[in-house]
C-alpha cells in the first residue's frame, strides 16, 4: 500500500485526543439553575483512574473514525506495476523528424538538433527500427527504414552521421502537421514492411517555435499505440524582429508605398528600418527608428520613388537574431494593354458601347488599359471589340489577329453582321432567330467557362435582373467550333464563343448600350470585362515576389533562367536561398524577390498546451527533463493515475461517515442514560 499524500498520516496523532478525553471524566457543560448555591460547596471534578477508560466502545469508535479520516486523506492506493514507458522491451517503430525549416538557420540550432538526433539514436537504437525524415513545408527522406534494416547494426550510426553531415536547413516554413502526417504514414509503411506489431514512436527534433504550423493536426485520429516525443534544441534567443510584407499601396496619383508590418517576439525592441537599392546600394527612403512591441500590428510604409525600377531590400538593424533581417522587394510587374474598338460611336457618346467600355477600363492599375477607337492602325491589340460591319481590310486583319491567338468581342446589333461572323469564323449557317418576348433575360449560363466562372458562386449568379431590351439571338451552324456560353430564357443562344485558329471570338447577342440592355449598368459588367481582358492577356500577371520555398509560383510552368543579382550565377533551377533574382522568360525578363516565410520569424517557444489541445499523444515530460527526474515524475503520474482509478479514499470516508453516525447514536444513548441516572 502506498500513499499519495503521506503527510496526512500525521493526523493520526489526533487519536490521542479521544483517549485523553476518555481518561478524564467529561467536565459537564450541562447547566442547572438552582435558587441559591450559598449552601453548596463546589464538588471537585472527578478523574477516572488511569487504568480505567470510560466508554471503551465509544472511544474505539472515535479512534477508528479519526484513523479512517487520516487514512482517507492520505490518499492510499495499492501499487501496481503499470509500465511508465511503453513497453521498453518490445520492438518499436520510430520515425525521427528533423526540423529543417528556416528558423533552424539560427546560430547553433541546426548543429544542436543533428547532434541530439545522433546521440539519441546511439542510445536508443536497440530494438528499434528507425526512419529519419526532414521536415519544413515538405518532407525530405533522410534515412529510410529500408536502408536502416539493410545496414549492419554496427554501421548504422556511421551511416546516419554521413547522411546528416551535409544536410542544411532550407528556408521553408515549419509545417509540423505535414511532418507528423508523413511520419504516421511512414509508421504504417514500416508496420506493413516488417509485418511486426510494434509500438510506434514519433520523435521530433526541432526548435519548436511559435511559427510552426500545427493546424492540420486538428481532428486527426491517432493510432492507440503511437506516442509523439519531443526533443527541443536548447532554448536560445527568443527576441527577434521580422518583416511581414503586406504589398504595395498607392492612393490616387500619390506615390507608391511599400507596406509591411513587423513581427516581434520575446520582448519589445527598438530597431532601425532601412530601404536600400539592391543594385547600387543607396538608401531609397529615409530610415526609420521604431519601437516594436510584441503583438504590435502597426503598419509601416516606405515611400518608394516612381523612378525606382531596381529591386531593393528592407532591412532591420538592432534586433537579436539576424537570420531574417533582410526582406527583398522586387518592383511590381505592371502590364499595359490595348483595347481596340471598331465601331462608329465616339467615346463621349453615351448612346454607344464605347462610352461604357472606356469608363470601365479607365481606372485599372493592372493591366493599364489604353482604348483605341476608330482607326485600328498598327497598334498592338490585346482585345478587339467589334460593334459594326468591318471594311474588307479590317476583316482580313481581324482574321489574322484571331488566328494568331487574339481575342475579339463582337456585339451583334443586327442580322447584317451575320456575314461578318461567317467570314471571321469561316463557318456558314449562322442565324439570328427572332425572339417573341418583349425583353430577354439570360436563362442558361455556362458557369464553368472562364468568363463566367467568377460568377459561379450562388451569391453572384443571379443574372435575372439584367434585361435585354433588344436581344439578338445568335445560332451557330450545326457543324461548328463554337460553344454556347449563355442562352436567352426563350432558349436561343445569347453569347457564343467561337474558336478561330488559336484565338477566340466572343459573339454577344445585342448591343451594349443602355437602350439595348441593362448589361453595362449591372454590377457584373466590369468584372466580366476584366475577366475577358485577363483571358485575352493569357491570364493574370506573374507575381514578382514570393517565398523561397515556392519559386514555381513566380516562374510558373515556363522554362526560365534564374540569375542572381550580380549576374554571376545563372541556372534553370530555382534558387534555394532568399534573395533578388532576375528570371528570363523566352520573351522578357523581370526582377523577382524570394523571401523566407514570415512565420519563421516567430521564434518564441511553442506552447506545449497546443499539442494537448490538438489531441496529439504526447509524453513530453519524460523527454525534456533528465531521465532520472523523468522517471520520478512518471512514477508520480503513475501513482496519481492508480489512486484515481482505485479511489480508496472514497470508501474510507464513507465508512468514517457511517461510524460517525453510529458514534452519534452511541454517545446520545450514553448521555441520556447519564442524565437519567443523575436525575434518579
Amino acid at each position: 500500500m502506498s500513499f499519495l499524500a503521506p503527510w496526512f498520516l500525521l493526523g493520526a496523532t489526533a487519536i490521542a485526543g479521544p483517549i485523553i478525553f476518555h481518561l478524564i471524566r467529561r467536565a459537564t457543560r450541562d447547566r442547572i439553575q438552582f435558587s441559591s448555591t450559598e449552601f453548596l460547596r463546589a464538588s471537585p471534578p472527578r478523574l477516572q483512574k488511569k487504568s480505567k477508560l470510560q466508554h471503551l466502545w465509544l472511544l474505539l469508535l472515535r479512534c477508528l473514525i479519526l484513523a479512517l479520516l487520516t487514512f482517507g486523506f492520505s490518499r492510499p492506493f495499492f501499487k501496481q506495476d503499470i509500465p511508465v514507458f511503453p513497453i521498453d522491451s518490445e520492438m518499436k517503430h520510430t520515425v525521427l523528424l528533423l526540423d529543417e525549416s528556416a528558423s533552424m538557420k539560427r546560430s547553433g540550432k541546426w548543429q544542436a538538433a543533428k547532434t541530439q538526433l545522433i546521440n539519441w539514436v546511439e542510445e536508443n537504437e536497440t530494438d528499434r527500427q528507425i526512419s529519419v525524415l526532414g521536415i519544413s513545408d515538405r518532407i525530405f527522406p533522410i534515412l529510410s527504414q529500408e536502408l536502416w534494416l539493410k545496414t549492419a547494426p554496427s554501421e548504422r550510426i556511421a551511416l546516419l552521421k554521413t547522411v546528416l553531415q551535409n544536410r542544411e536547413p532550407n528556408w521553408g516554413p515549419t509545417h509540423m502537421d505535414t511532418g507528423l502526417h508523413a511520419a504516421l504514414d511512414e509508421l504504417e509503411q514500416m508496420v506493413e514492411t516488417t509485418g511486426e506489431k510494434a509500438s510506434k514512436v514519433i520523435r521530433i527534433f526541432s526548435d519548436f517555435t511559435n511559427g510552426a504550423r500545427l493546424s492540420g493536426l486538428a481532428g486527426r485520429d491517432w493510432p492507440e499505440d503511437c506516442i509523439v516525443e519531443f526533443e527541443p534544441t536548447q532554448q536560445g534567443e527568443t527576441r527577434n524582429v521580422g518583416i511581414q510584407w503586406l504589398g504595395w499601396s498607392k492612393i490616387g496619383s500619390g506615390p507608391r508605398k511599400a507596406r509591411f508590418s513587423l513581427i516581434t517576439t520575446g520582448g519589445n525592441q527598438t530597431v532601425t528600418l532601412k530601404a536600400t537599392d539592391a543594385v547600387i546600394g543607396a538608401e531609397i527612403a529615409s530610415s526609420k527608428m521604431v519601437y516594436s512591441r510584441v503583438g504590435d500590428k502597426r503598419l509601416y510604409l516606405f515611400e518608394i520613388p516612381d523612378k525606382q525600377s531596381n529591386p531593393f531590400n528592407i532591412s532591420i538593424e538592432g534586433d537579436f537574431e539576424p537570420f531574417d533581417n533582410t526582406y527583398h522587394v522586387a518592383p511590381e510587374n505592371l502590364r499595359e494593354a490595348n483595347l481596340v474598338y471598331l465601331g462608329s460611336e465616339t467615346v463621349e457618346n453615351p448612346k454607344g458601347a464605347l462610352f461604357y467600355i472606356e469608363r470601365a477600363v479607365n481606372g485599372w492599375e493592372d493591366p493599364k488599359m489604353s482604348v483605341i477607337s476608330g482607326d485600328w492602325g498598327n497598334n498592338t491589340t490585346d482585345l478587339l471589340v467589334i460593334s459594326q460591319n468591318l471594311e474588307a481590310y479590317e476583316v482580313e486583319k481581324a482574321k489574322k489577329y484571331l488566328s494568331q491567338g487574339g481575342t475579339a468581342l463582337l456585339l451583334l446589333k443586327d442580322g447584317k453582321q451575320l456575314g461578318l461572323i461567317e467570314t471571321l469564323t469561316g463557318e456558314t449557317g449562322w442565324q439570328s432567330p427572332s425572339l417573341s418576348k418583349e425583353y430577354g433575360l439570360l436563362g442558361t449560363i455556362d458557369f464553368n467557362h472562364i468568363l463566367f466562372k467568377i460568377f459561379a458562386n450562388p451569391r453572384y449568379n443571379n443574372f435575372t435582373n439584367i434585361r435585354f431590351w433588344q436581344p439578338k439571338a445568335i445560332e451557330p451552324p450545326s457543324e461548328t467550333n463554337s460553344k454556347i456560353l449563355a442562352r436567352f430564357d426563350e432558349g436561343p443562344p445569347a453569347i457564343v464563343e467561337s474558336t478561330v485558329g488559336t484565338g477566340r471570338l466572343i459573339i454577344w447577342g445585342g448591343d451594349w448600350t443602355p437602350q439595348a440592355s441593362q448589361w453595362v449598368l449591372s454590377s457584373k459588367y466590369v468584372p466580366w470585362l476584366q475577366q475577358l481582358m485577363e483571358t485575352a492577356l493569357g491570364g493574370p500577371a506573374q507575381p514578382t515576389m514570393g517565398f523561397v520555398n515556392e519559386p514555381e509560383r513566380i516562374a510558373g510552368n515556363e522554362a526560365v533562367v534564374w540569375k542572381t543579382l550580380n549576374g554571376t550565377i545563372s541556372s534553370p533551377t530555382a534558387p534555394k536561398n532568399p534573395g533578388l533574382y532576375k528570371i528570363s522568360h523566352e520573351t522578357h525578363s523581370q526582377w523577382v524577390a524570394l523571401n523566407m516565410p514570415a512565420d519563421e520569424s516567430r521564434i518564441d517557444p511553442l506552447s506545449w498546451d497546443t499539442w494537448e489541445k490538438l489531441g496529439v499523444p504526447i509524453t513530453e515530460s519524460q523527454l525534456i527533463v533528465p531521465q532520472e527526474l523523468a522517471e520520478e515524475k512518471a512514477a508520480a503520474k503513475n501513482a496519481i493515475e492508480l489512486e484515481g482509478e482505485q479511489k480508496l479514499w472514497k470508501w474510507l470516508l464513507v465508512t468514517a461517515a457511517l461510524f460517525l453516525g453510529i458514534e452519534s447514536l452511541v454517545s446520545l444513548s450514553i448521555s441520556r442514560k447519564g442524565a437519567v441516572t443523575a436525575e434518579a
Binding site: 450541562d30 435558587s35 463546589a42 443523575a678 436525575e679
Partner: protein, 311 residues
C-alpha cells in the same frame, strides 16, 4: 371559628393546570369554605341579630328610638359583627423564586397562594393590599376593599415583573413599614433564603410598629432535600455564580448548612414575635391556607384588630 378540613387537599399539579389565577384561587377557597362555619361573633354591623336591654354606658348611637317610642323602654340594637381585617401581602418575586423542581416554580406557587389568600380575605370583606418585591418594592397596592380591587390585585399578581433582581428583603420591609402606617396583618411570602442578618432589623421595625407580621416560607422540595439534578454546572439564580456540583457529593454538607439556616431564620423570626409557616411547593394549597388560618388565628386576630369589637 371551627374549621373541618377536607380529607384530601387539591393536588397542586392539577391546580396549576388551571391557567387563570382567579379561578385557581376560587377553587381553593371554595373548597375550603365548605368546611367553614358562620362566624359566631357579634358586633355592630349592617346585619341585625337581636335587641338587648340598655345599660348604662352603652353607646346611645345604637339605641332603638322607635322601640323606645313604642314601648317606652330602652333597647340597644345588636348587629352581626363584620370582620374588617387590614391585611397586606408582601410577595417575593426575586430570582430565587423562579426555581422549581416541579412543573411549576416557587414563584407561581407563591402567587397562587397570595391570590387565594386575597380572594379569601376580600370575600370576608377584609381589606387586602399587595406589595411585590425583589431588591425593593416593585409594585404596591394599598389595602382596600372594593368590587374591582380583587381583579386589580389578581392582575398585578398575574403580570410577570420586569427585570427580576436578587432578593433584598430588608429593603422591602423598610419600604412596607413606610407605606403601611395603619396597623395591619403583614403576610410575607418568600423563600427566606437570605441570611437573617440582612433583614432581621427591618423586620423588628415593622413589628415595633404594631403590625402583625406573619412569615410564610415557600420552599421547593428539592431545596429541602437536594434530591435533584446531576453533576453539572449549577448556576445560582440570584447571583449567577456557577459551581460544579455533584449533588450526591454535596448533599450532606448542603443539608447541614440548610438546616442551620432554617434554624437561624426561625429563631430570628421568633425573637421578633413573628410566626413562621414553612410551605413546601408540593403541599396542597388548600391545606396550606387552612393551616395558615388555623395557626395564625385569623379570626382571633380579626377580633383583636377590629376597633368596633363588641362583646
Amino acid at each position: 371559628m371551627a374549621i373541618a378540613p377536607s380529607q384530601t387537599g387539591i393536588d397542586p399539579q392539577a391546580l396549576f393546570a388551571i391557567r387563570d389565577l382567579e379561578m385557581r384561587a376560587r377553587v381553593v377557597v371554595e373548597g375550603l369554605r365548605s368546611g367553614l362555619h358562620r362566624s359566631p361573633m357579634e358586633g355592630f354591623s349592617v346585619e341585625f341579630t337581636e335587641y338587648r336591654q340598655y345599660s348604662l354606658g352603652d353607646d346611645l348611637r345604637y339605641l332603638d328610638w322607635h322601640a323606645l317610642a313604642r314601648t317606652d323602654r330602652e333597647y340597644i340594637k345588636k348587629f352581626e359583627d363584620e370582620t374588617n381585617l387590614r391585611c397586606h401581602i408582601l410577595l417575593d418575586t426575586s430570582r430565587s423564586m423562579l426555581f422549581g423542581s416541579l412543573p411549576y416554580t416557587k414563584s407561581e406557587y407563591a402567587r397562587t397562594l397570595a391570590a387565594t389568600l386575597a380572594y379569601f380575605l376580600l370575600h370576608q370583606r377584609d381589606v387586602v393590599g399587595l406589595s411585590l418585591f425583589d431588591s425593593r418594592i416593585r409594585d404596591y397596592m394599598p389595602s382596600k376593599w372594593g368590587p374591582g380591587h380583587l381583579h386589580q390585585l389578581l392582575a398585578k399578581l398575574e403580570r410577570k415583573p420586569e427585570g427580576r433582581r436578587p432578593t433584598n428583603l430588608g429593603n422591602a420591609l423598610e419600604e412596607v413599614a413606610k407605606l403601611n402606617r395603619k396597623r395591619s396583618l403583614i403576610l410575607i411570602l418568600s423563600d427566606f433564603l437570605t441570611p437573617p442578618e440582612k433583614w432581621g432589623v427591618e423586620l423588628g421595625y415593622l413589628v415595633a410598629m404594631s403590625h402583625d407580621v406573619r412569615a410564610v416560607q415557600i420552599l421547593d422540595p428539592a431545596e429541602q432535600s437536594l434530591e435533584f439534578g446531576k453533576a453539572a454546572q449549577w448556576e445560582d439564580l440570584e447571583t449567577g455564580n456557577r459551581l460544579y456540583i455533584d449533588p450526591s457529593v454535596a448533599r450532606l454538607d448542603y443539608l447541614e448548612k440548610f438546616k442551620s439556616h432554617q434554624v437561624a431564620v426561625k429563631q430570628s423570626l421568633e425573637e421578633r414575635g413573628v410566626w413562621l409557616q414553612t410551605v413546601s411547593t408540593d403541599q396542597p394549597l388548600d391545606f396550606v391556607l387552612l393551616e395558615m388560618i388555623q395557626q395564625s388565628g385569623v379570626a382571633r386576630n380579626m377580633a383583636r384588630t377590629n376597633p368596633r369589637e363588641s362583646g
